[in-house]
Subunit: 397 residues, 2 copies
Amino acid sequence: MTVSGGGDEGEKQRYTHQMPGPLADITVIDLSRVLAGPYATMVLADLGARVIKVERPDGGDDARAYGPFIKGHSAYFASINRGKQSIALDLKSADDRVIFEALLARGDVLIDNYRPGVMARLGYGWEALAARYPRLIHAATSGFGQTGPDSQKAAYDMVVQAMGGIMSVTGHPGGPPTRVGTSVGDITAGLFTVIGIMAALHDRDRTGKGQFVDVAMLDGQIAILENAIARYAATGESPGPLGARHPSITPFAAYQCADAPIVIAAGNDQLFTALCTALGLPTDDPRFADNNARTTHAEALAAVLEGVLLTQPVAHWLPKLEAAGVPCGPLNNIGQALANPQVQARNMVVHTSLPDGTPLIAAGNPIKLSAHADPATRAPAPELDGDRATILKELGL
Amino acid sequence: MTVSGGGDEGEKQRYTHQMPGPLADITVIDLSRVLAGPYATMVLADLGARVIKVERPDGGDDARAYGPFIKGHSAYFASINRGKQSIALDLKSADDRVIFEALLARGDVLIDNYRPGVMARLGYGWEALAARYPRLIHAATSGFGQTGPDSQKAAYDMVVQAMGGIMSVTGHPGGPPTRVGTSVGDITAGLFTVIGIMAALHDRDRTGKGQFVDVAMLDGQIAILENAIARYAATGESPGPLGARHPSITPFAAYQCADAPIVIAAGNDQLFTALCTALGLPTDDPRFADNNARTTHAEALAAVLEGVLLTQPVAHWLPKLEAAGVPCGPLNNIGQALANPQVQARNMVVHTSLPDGTPLIAAGNPIKLSAHADPATRAPAPELDGDRATILKELGL
């Protein structure tokens, strides 16, 4: 059993709204705002960790002011911060610093996404924290990281999507710049931050000591370029956007049917043969003999496939291709994606609420563990400073 | 110190090519192919875990055949599988099953991305594994997950990008379907798989028991929709693609300068005022009074901003906006992204090689840990079955 961090080893309070899970022994003190950090602590909370948001008194997390709103509450904030607690503290106030330090003494993990240097100016730089709270893990998620010439620059998701290269391979050839439609800059950094925290917890179980985890949003974007870096490494040329097809696997794209597009991903020769047979096409065209030939002749292949697909609607082709074992699917909008019986069966749409009880749906936890339940509900996100009395009582302050 | 799994508790061999890191005590037996699983084990290897790829004898990992190629070697395979070992085993052969089971007895984590049911048909379903190797953690990454009506269907990245909804919010209004230009379906599942494995390791440190980790690529896509789900929840309408701007933060988009676009992300009123001042624009236009007003008038605001930006090139505006503290950046292609001094300073471009020694660059590890080094090199990816003799000797077989 992992003991709690720092000075106070007393029994931790358990809250009924806390999720069951493997991190039930972990308390996270969360200074982070908007998305990368709060996404990381959402994942930790979904795995059972207790997350205490420490917010600034004048308005709290910026995301509380981001739309869309339901009855004056940010649905965006409510979904990412479900099941967390909140206390408002001014880290420049002596009284509030006493409370914050009592939290650090009990916490296992501190997370912030200030610009590098802010924590040190508050007196909470890593060396000071490590000396005082030797078991504490401090994860800092920033735009550009704690080191390097740009470390002091500000970044948001869009900036790192642009600078990290993912926008250069997303979109259509010759078309306008295209942002990935969700904040992959923040979310990727959030996921790497969780992995770093978990790695540090594993280390702490052996060494007894915490450590500092430094994750940059820009670094996370480089880390997910995969194929694009390999192509650049092999050719010395930067690949461009390819619309809706894969750069080196064919057919692996969106194709037009009579009413709408479908995607078909036939990643090897067997699947390609199955696809041709299902569509009544010849299987011996030399232009399409193997994956590399198909990639070279991707446009010709699209014309051949669409020559057949355009004769019938999506509803005709999907069951036919599925029966042939060909990976395929519809292009779902958000409502369709969430209504998919498979997504529902996997408990990927969970139920939470706004502070006034108004029901709200949110994305579930994609990590299904055999030793833990996967609840279909989440406690609501906290109101600003909503858990102050509970937390102060617990701290004996 | 975590002991090794299952039956054999003997001292593990350490290999010089293994990375330093918090997972140096962990051995991963990796049956996975192509991307989601291999990406997960790349992250684990970068954190110090020993990863043994168990490949099928006839060609091994499918990704060995995916371009681009350098001197006949897949650069794609080489980058994702750097620093791993390989043994080729036919899991239907009695002799090879003895070897595989000896690996399971020593391993901490087994990972596969077969379709659900394949492992059970091989005699390695979770109940059988848990009975024989009680400390073993088994992570299975699949297209649709181990449960639900679609669990037996095949999926590739493109299918889950389409079905999960991210393609419906990526691209331009009225434009053709647009795939995110890297395999976020696989990579996201890989990252959630790593988190699940780490959570199970944390649990094992307390309970002594392994568990089964079930991650679906489709579930991972739902989990990263964030804002899009919140908008759907608030309005009941599925949001569409918005090109290169953020749905609810403005200005947060690509804007055209004289020579090329830049991105500007002014996420709050202070930053918007700083932007206007830097561009010589008035700061009191009532259409742009706060973030919600700016989002309502996003097109009018873009016209006002571009009226100024179009008069000068990107090189003029970037330093000016940076000096004003406005988050902004260039739209880098892959070569530019990797050449960025910040990316270089963060050791995000590491050096590995093909099996013949040809140098190859690859993405580095975005998780920077204070207690561990962050090497600039990685051992090459293994040749198929290239570590057989070493592994058999170690197993005493």
